[in-house]
Symmetry: C2
């Protein structure tokens, strides 16, 4: 994301960026790339076009040439940064997938060994093949639509790998619950292979303090084989299908991250990335987010947030709690306490404001020597950093990232776990101007939710409802509004505000088409 | 809260409950009581009346005899449980306090050693003394109004102590920021003693990855005294007064809990308690909550939640994360994973649904021997328990609480830290029927927010606006609606639903009077 990483990026761009100076050796940079640097497949760019897109002066906005490349005329547009990294470190992916039952030979293991690319699925770049399966003799599959955005930092490697593979991990995990999902009338069976059914709670004691006499004798636990099952504790929770899709997405992010770590042993997979993805499955829209990209729904001109950003500020208490519990992770150089600014040596013994992990307010404490250490979280807003290094606290990759000139790893403080929000699409009516907007932080840094909603709603109102290019043009308009135009004093947007100098990538996905897709299917 | 604790409670009731059977020795039960068991001071009950109130068959509803005992005709009503403990383990406290500057001899220490009872303050049981100080020659103080509710479990000791002392700890912490709070036009000074001022951020780098070259040279940190302060990192945060009141409340809860732990060495302070308190200070209403009591504002008949409940379900991920980080806290007997029900030995090798601390959804895992351990969090809704023992996850006390027949302490999983919500009272107009309702879980277990709002709004509409007893009568009505009437099949409320068999305590606090108080002051 920043100038520091230019040299690292140049290393794996091969000839394209040859001649870059300031080469700083990176661990793993001598290894081969897992995937060459590229732009999203659905853009269909030639190598020449990819090279032209990386013009930091002109900053051309790239859009889809053929709207049919993405389902339901989804709009997409992107632009490269204004020079903070040689390459556009954003990546994107869009797929229509039919999940079919895993073949018997696949076994029931939770960590499939077979490379995901050999899985039986249909992943078509255009919307015409919806619902088709590669092989007509298999049982009916489960179709889902997938859109992913990945914002890389300290190199493009992790973002490229995640854009190629995250949806495969989602497929793996959905396969495990496929039978359950195909029978939406029933609750999920707690044990796989059982007939799904409704479970009822047996009466237990009132909340408060409970005698746990049956604890060690319970349910055939070790050490007490002779005890009968304690029916008092024998309750079963109702698990709904939605929770199993959420669980599949959560575990897919975790495995994607684990795979990047494994891949780094044999490939050059540089840096890390945020990940924001939307899944349309069985009439519901699931948005999973790990990082500081953002998704909103615009319905009737109103904004419905579909993600929250994970930053040093929003995750302060989680990070401080972890550091408090595992102080060795701070390498003796940082303090888990937060102060409003760096403490000066001359202030030892005076009283200064601070916050601990339990606090959302501030209080005074007497400054001690330990408080002179650098704070775990430092800076405000977009400038806030964890361990003085990184401004985003969830995502994939970054396994090798350390505090500059130290042996303190950042990764333990980063989480690869997404927050998944669910939108019950079928519960609402949607017009042609109702959309899901997904954008990397380059968009949201300069435009508020409300500004985006007004821009999109205003733009679409001026397009014919059947115009196949309306969402692509709206995406282009949005990227233009966030990038601005180059003037004497840099990139400027409306009201002479500074435009975004960051990579910007935007999807605009029509919700009315999802409803129509369901109507056609049923 | 439950039958198990009856015997413990009887131990410190002295003669009142003499003759109780089933006496189970409790650590500390031979020590003297710090405070004798009592009902809230403002009820002004005689010992005989206290004994009569503990009738589990009649369950008389206690109300204020004189409305002037509480500020602004605050309504209060309570009722004992239906037999789950000998005593009413709820406690309540209401005070009007004038905080004055600590005398120079008090020093600037953050943990005042002087017993809080000697502090210079005015704590009047009636509303007539508002703003008065004990000594007219001191500088102007800061008045705040305070209402507290404490729901005890496994004994009344902690609830009694907290009801007597929590506000004193709040006073201590407000004294530390008194100078700042008295000058609302200015931001808080970061260093105590400095002139408050506006600080501005110095420009730093863009968010993302940052070079932390200046890390160890920064701000005169140890090991690099010769480095100049790195202005790039030298930013200061703006801290508002509201945050300092929140911080004072947060730290007051922490010190109240620490004091209970210390007191247990010399006194019999049994059990633990939840704590819910409201503070009206400088035109804002602060509600701090640690436990499963609840506060709501009813404004124009609409509900504004002012607290969230902390239970094994709502705090699942925090608890699982802690157990994952510090597995020794589980004593080898529990697993931090959540399952929909107990795992059976015969299910080892099969696949079962589970949730880890990173997940809000569910997924399948292959059952291993370790999964036969009892789950850290077990049961659903009101029956959910941490370590098979307790159904509430924040509060004060419980330091000695262990899993039955084991050496596993519960306390590390409990938090004494409140969540503090702020209501900017002066930003709204309030009518005489707009109120803050605070209630222990006995109320909310059987009545929803909406039902409470309808009951209170309906009741107050039928009272004269100047009737001094309107809030007390409304509180009585609410407790009656939650307790119900004793029928053949137990306590029944509207629509033949089960009434609450728990202790129930309710405050109804008029918001319009707070606005009037401000008008009078200014």
């Amino acid at each position: 994301m920043l100038t520091r990483v230019k040299s690292a990026v140049a290393n794996f761009m091969g000839g394209m960026m040859a001649g870059s100076s300031n080469s700083e050796p990176l661990r793993g940079s001598d290894l081969p790339l897992k995937y060459p640097y590229t732009r999203p497949e659905f853009l269909g760019l030639s190598p020449d076009e990819i090279e032209c897109s990386a013009d930091h002066i002109a900053r051309p906005i790239l859009i889809l040439k053929e709207t049919k490349r993405l389902p339901w005329a989804t709009g997409y547009a992107e632009v490269i940064n204004a020079g903070k990294s040689h390459l556009n470190e954003d990546q994107a992916c869009c797929e229509v997938v039919v999940v079919v039952r895993r073949r018997p030979s696949d076994g029931g293991n939770s960590t499939p060994k077979r490379p995901p690319t050999t899985r039986r699925r249909s992943s078509l770049p255009n919307g015409e093949g919806l619902g088709l399966r590669e092989n007509a003799d298999v049982e009916p599959g489960l179709t889902f639509h997938y859109w992913g955005l990945f914002d890389g930092h300290a190199g493009s490697g992790a973002a490229v790998v995640a854009s190629k593979l995250l949806h495969h991990h989602i497929i793996e995990h959905l396969q495990e619950v496929l039978d359950v999902l195909r029978n939406p009338a029933l609750l999920a069976p707690i044990i796989q292979g059982e007939e799904p059914t409704n479970y009822h709670l047996t009466p237990t004691t009132h909340r408060g303090i409970t005698r746990a006499a049956s604890l060690r004798g319970a349910a055939g636990a070790p050490g007490s084989p002779s005890h009968p099952p304690p029916t008092r504790f024998f309750t079963e929770k109702k698990i709904h299908h939605e929770s199993m899709v959420i669980g599949a997405m959560e575990n897919a992010f975790k495995e994607m991250d684990a795979q990047i770590e494994r891949d780094k042993a044999v490939f050059n997979v540089s840096g890390g990335c945020t990940a924001l993805c939307a899944l349309f499955l069985l009439g519901k829209l699931y948005v999973g987010n790990a990082g500081d990209s953002r998704a909103i729904i615009i319905r009737g001109g109103e904004v419905i947030p579909m993600s929250t950003e994970f930053t040093p500020e929003s995750e302060r208490q989680r990070l401080q709690f972890l550091a408090y519990m595992q102080p060795h992770l701070l390498g003796g150089e940082f303090t888990h306490l937060e102060f409003p600014r760096r403490v000066q040596r001359k202030e030892v013994g005076k009283r200064m404001l601070y916050r601990d992990f339990t606090m959302s307010g501030w209080a005074y404490k007497t400054i001690e020597d330990d408080d002179l250490k650098f704070p775990l979280i430092y800076g405000e807003g977009k400038k806030a950093r964890v361990l003085a290094t990184i401004g985003v606290t969830r995502g994939l990759g970054d396994h090798e990232l350390k505090v500059h000139d130290s042996n303190i790893y950042i990764k333990p403080f980063l989480s690869c776990c997404p927050e998944v929000k669910v939108y019950p699409l079928t519960q609402y009516e949607h017009g042609v101007d109702d959309v899901l907007v997904m954008g990397t932080d380059g968009l949201w840094d300069v435009l508020s939710n409300q500004e985006v909603a007004e821009a999109v709603t205003g733009f679409l109102a001026n397009c014919g409802p059947d115009d196949q290019r309306r969402y692509t043009m709206a995406a282009q308009d949005l990227v233009m509004r966030a990038r601005g135009v180059l003037k004497d004093r840099g990139w400027r947007i409306a009201n002479e505000r500074l435009g975004s100098g960051d990579d910007i990538s935007v999807y605009i996905i029509p919700l009315s088409m999802m409803t129509m897709f369901l109507d056609v299917q049923s």
